[in-house]
Amino acid sequence: MEKYRINPNSGLEFGLYTLGDHIADPHTGKRISNQQRIKEIIELAKMAEQAGIDFFSVGESHQEYFTTQAHTVVLGAIAQATEKIKIASSSTIISTLDPVRVFEDFATIDLISNGRAEIIAGRASRVGVFDLLGYNLRDYEELFEEKFDLLLKINQEEVVNWKGSYRAPLNNAKVIPRPLNGSLPIWRAVGGPPASAIKAGYAGVPMFLAMLGGPVSSFKRSIEAYREAANRSGHNSDELPVATAGFFYVADTTQAAQAETYPYINEGMKLTNGNGFPKQHFAQGAHPQDVMNIGSPELVIEKILYQHEVFGHQRYIAQMDFGGVTFDKLKRNIDIIGTKILPEIKKHTRKK
């Protein structure tokens, strides 16, 4: 776990993530400028650090309604603006980027931040990026696998010899700068189903599991499949951290939390995904055995602890800004996380 900068004794890590979406507030129909949104994301990272949150990450999406296409640049600003919070991407679309450039960027962010940078590499849930950056969608799977492998190789070896199908060969190529402590934690981003989790297991890399909604027990299957696949492939799953990511929002009561956040999530999903979030499913999200961490602080603490008990994961990251949620609401959530949620979670998950 140390290799991934995780200390199991200090309990479940709690993080925040943003996809970098840029969506009008459905209550007013008004959208803040790109500039304001980017600055608020940087500000959010600073506030998260002050509240004692462990981790903050920014996503890369190239289609409309998003604004952190250049996510590494935003992370560079966050690296400079913060001192101790871990920073990462959520996720970096490695398939359509050059792994050498990605490594250079993140190694640099790691140096600026004194060793706090991590990469979460994903495959893109939107395909517009393939056209935009000049790749063929038919190569979706192979682009990811080949480039992800190369990224892992560069992380291990400073001088790289490599040949593949989607990038010019590397002959004794020196990839610099190197991260502060030699290598970066590199995670594989995984959607819900076990089939995708198994691939992370084969590669023996840490897994970031996205969970929109649904029973904890379903996602447990993916985590178990991941650990089994890792052990079968000669890795030791005890040394591989697992992180989960999902919706989060707290208010005084569960009903208030649902009422405040539903319009954002529903309208945001309609715009970016083409389907809203059915109210019936959203209402079920309040069930203690559902992964969606939306509710009163007491309910959310109970849920996160339950998930930790079932998953045995090392990190949970919360998405609470999706769909144009106003900054004052985000501030209030961070306050509640810092004063109520984190102390309880750490108390119950820390090794005594």
Binding site: R126, A259, N275
Partner: protein, 188 residues
């Protein structure tokens, strides 16, 4: 209320004729309803390649987005090789899994032989159910003998089409009010 008619074949005339008649019945009986007929023969639709429907362009984007915006969909399908035509299946493949959630879907089926009567029951309904449609269980089945020179000549068929339209509109209103009542109970 928005109703979209989808004529699912790019060959022949029976399905289009039946769909045009159905759409006329809707606009005559319910002038307040916003109704659109999409005849796939008029569009150049690409095959589904798995992307989100919002990311298609041109005719494919128009057709998928128009269907997604509907409150109810009337599908017209012929029977080809004892199944629905590939053009119609492609539309389903282009849409998200839960595309028909909170939508009422009814359909009319045309065929060259009465032996095909159960094709829609056994092949179309399961797809619609999987995609979360509220299915109007009774559909209208038309044969060659019901048409003459691109007109429907059977009064029985016209009565059945009128009942189908009524059922679609009534069920769309009913499901909407049930949903609103239920959603109000959630209190958010």
């Amino acid at each position: 209320m928005k109703i979209v008619g989808l004529s699912g074949s790019i060959v022949g005339s029976k399905t289009r004729t039946a769909m045009e008649r159905t759409i006329n019945i809707i606009s005559e009986k319910y002038p307040e309803i916003d109704v659109t007929l999409i005849d796939l023969a008029d569009f150049n639709i690409q095959f589904s390649d798995g992307r989100n429907y919002l990311e298609y362009e041109g005719d494919t984007a128009y057709v998928t987005q128009t269907i997604m915006e509907a409150d109810a969909v009337v599908i017209g399908t012929p029977v080809f090789q004892a199944s629905i035509p590939a053009t119609l299946k492609n539309i389903f493949d282009l849409l998200p899994e839960k595309a028909f959630i909170d939508k009422v879907v009814g359909f009319v089926v045309t065929a060259g032989s009465p032996k095909h009567y159960l094709v829609a029951e056994q092949q179309l309904k399961p797809i619609l159910a999987y995609m979360k449609a509220q299915i109007v269980q009774t559909y209208v089945f038309l044969e060659e003998q019901d048409f003459y020179r691109k007109e429907i000549v059977s009064d029985d068929v016209i009565f059945r089409l009128e009942r189908l339209v009524e059922d679609i509109v009534t069920l769309t209103k009913t499901y909407e009010s049930i949903r609103k009542e239920k959603e109000a109970e959630y209190g958010f």
